[in-house]
Amino acid sequence: MRTAIVVERLGHVYPDGTEALKGVSLAIGSGDYLALCGPNGSGKSTLARHLNGLLKPTEGRVLIGDLDTRTRTPAELAPHVGYLFQNPNHQLVAPTVEQEVAIGPRARGLSPREVRNRVAEALGELGIEELRSEHPLFLTLAQKQLVAIASLLALRPSVLVLDEPTTALDATERRRVMEIFDELWRAGRAIVLITHEMDLVAEHARRCAVLADGRMVFDGDPEGLFSSPEVLELASLERPQVAELGARLGASRPWLTVGDALRSPAAAGITSTIGLTLGRDGRETAANHSPRFLGANVPPEAL
């Protein structure tokens, strides 16, 4: 795993004097799936905005590959780090999905043929080819979100920063979009997921960075986080309900997810009757895995 982004002793003070980040250091590897957590005001959104150069450090620096964010505009960094905003309506501009996804590649000066390739590639990877000629504003929120993701993918970034992508989605949409992120990760990208939904952290993230009051107070795996009550308290975080349950019942292994809890001998027979499958890496996925997810091998952009 190469290092994709290095955050070195990052400090950020806003114009009104608020010190949002105090000496935060973090190295994000090219294959990381990192959850970024913390209460409101902890600095997690501030930190996230440094990762693609939207904010410039007041102290320290952020390196994307060997590019210093202070020397590049965020648009120049978009082919390396894609940042997905919470509300897709803040981005949608074009009358068709196709044109919408083409905006980034065109703005970056790619040839018309390459632009067409990138659009097809992005729509294909997400399985939304059939939305190509639709007007983005008439789509559902979940569909708009996919269009926004496609717009980012068209620049082939090797890191994706996802800002609270699941808060307004129902359970089916949420599952679908988290599976997409899993696929995008498996295709070789680093994922940084900003969320306060700890069940998603337990289910998908491999690593968790917790901020409180502008400082990094934890950097480790979700299991480590859920067994550190002081950190949870400090960052006003709660364990997922099933983890809490497992702890109360004194389960022999920690229960991070519902799947974990079910993966005990007594449950094995019943689990297969209902038709759940365990994914390649032991993480559980829902039975109705859509055949449209190609899991295309998009070559990671060389940094």
């Binding site: 307004a168 809890a261 449950a267």
Partner: protein, 293 residues
């Protein structure tokens, strides 16, 4: 409107909301957004409306609060009775005194330069005397748990949770007997969600009937007296949370975001009623057995 006691408007009947044979179709649509909806809600209940995106939850909230047909075009059939009167043909400002609605985005519902203005405008426009306005503002702030010091602040400067509560206070200042909320917790962090649900519990305890559209069920199931599960525009199940969530065994991938303990019980194929929280889960035999391996 001259009430001096801080309790909400009390009207004789125990049934506050009654829908009979209700159906609604948006203009230019080829199918009904709601059909065959019959329901009765009583004073002081907390009722949750749950279901997949597009199932008609927001539409139902708009119908109950009278926003359909007061603002929203379309073809509404059936009877919608709130506090014994039909919502048809009534003006929005008059409806607001019976049933208030709080939408998802606080930013779209705040119009005042100060929190005080937010709360006072509705009362000023009803010619409520200044002394009474003052009292009602104080009451509304108190109910939602905001400090009086916030009165002179701009609503824009407040946190998401505080904004949401200012909107609720503004709606409550008109003393509706029914409060409808459409996905009030989407933009809130876990602390904000808990605060909001505590507030809804207090309101119901004080006699206000609360109807909440929600897709994250973890806290709702603990507060709601009943849930209405909507699917494709009609009621799939209605009953206590335990009863309704018990129905969810039918689909492997249900669109409801169940509390994890409920999901666990469902996947174990254990007996219904499924536990809705940790306290119930630790007494639920199949889960206890799981832990002892």
């Amino acid at each position: 409107m001259s009430q001096h006691s801080p309790s909400p408007m009390a009207v004789g009947s125990d049934v506050v909301v009654h829908l009979q044979g209700v159906a609604f179709r948006y203009p230019d649509s080829d199918r009904d957004a709601l059909h065959d909806v019959d329901l009765t809600i009583r004073r002081g209940e907390i009722v949750g409306i749950v279901g997949a995106s597009g199932a008609g939850k927001s539409t139902l909230a708009l119908v109950i609060s009278g926003q359909i047909p007061a603002f929203v075009e379309g073809h509404l059939r059936g009877d919608v009775m709130v506090l014994g009167r039909s919502t048809r043909g009534r003006k929005a400002s008059e409806l607001a005194e019976s049933v208030g609605i709080v939408y998802q985005d606080p930013e779209a519902q705040l119009y005042g330069l100060t929190v005080e203005e937010e709360l006072a405008v509705g009362l000023e426009n009803r010619n409520v005397p200044a002394a009474e306005i003052e009292e009602r503002i104080r009451w509304a702030l108190d109910v939602v748990g905001l400090r009086a010091a916030l009165l002179t602040r701009s609503p824009y400067d407040l946190s998401g949770g505080e904004k949401q509560r200012v909107v609720i206070a503004s709606v409550l200042a008109l003393r509706p007997a029914v409060l409808v909320l459409d996905e009030p917790t989407s933009a809130l962090d876990p602390g904000g969600k808990s605060t909001l649900y505590d507030l809804l519990g207090r309101l119901a305890h004080g006699g206000v009937t609360v109807i909440v559209v929600e897709h994250d069920l973890e806290r709702l199931v603990l507060q709601a007296n009943r849930l209405i599960w909507l699917e494709d525009g009609t009621i799939r199940a209605i009953g206590s949370p335990a009863e309704v969530l018990g129905e969810s065994y039918l689909d492997a991938a249900t669109p409801l975001r169940l509390p994890q303990v409920t999901e666990l019980a469902r996947r174990l194929g254990g007996p219904r009623p499924y536990p809705l929280d940790i306290a119930a889960a630790i007494r639920y035999a199949p889960i206890v057995r799981l832990a002892s391996r």
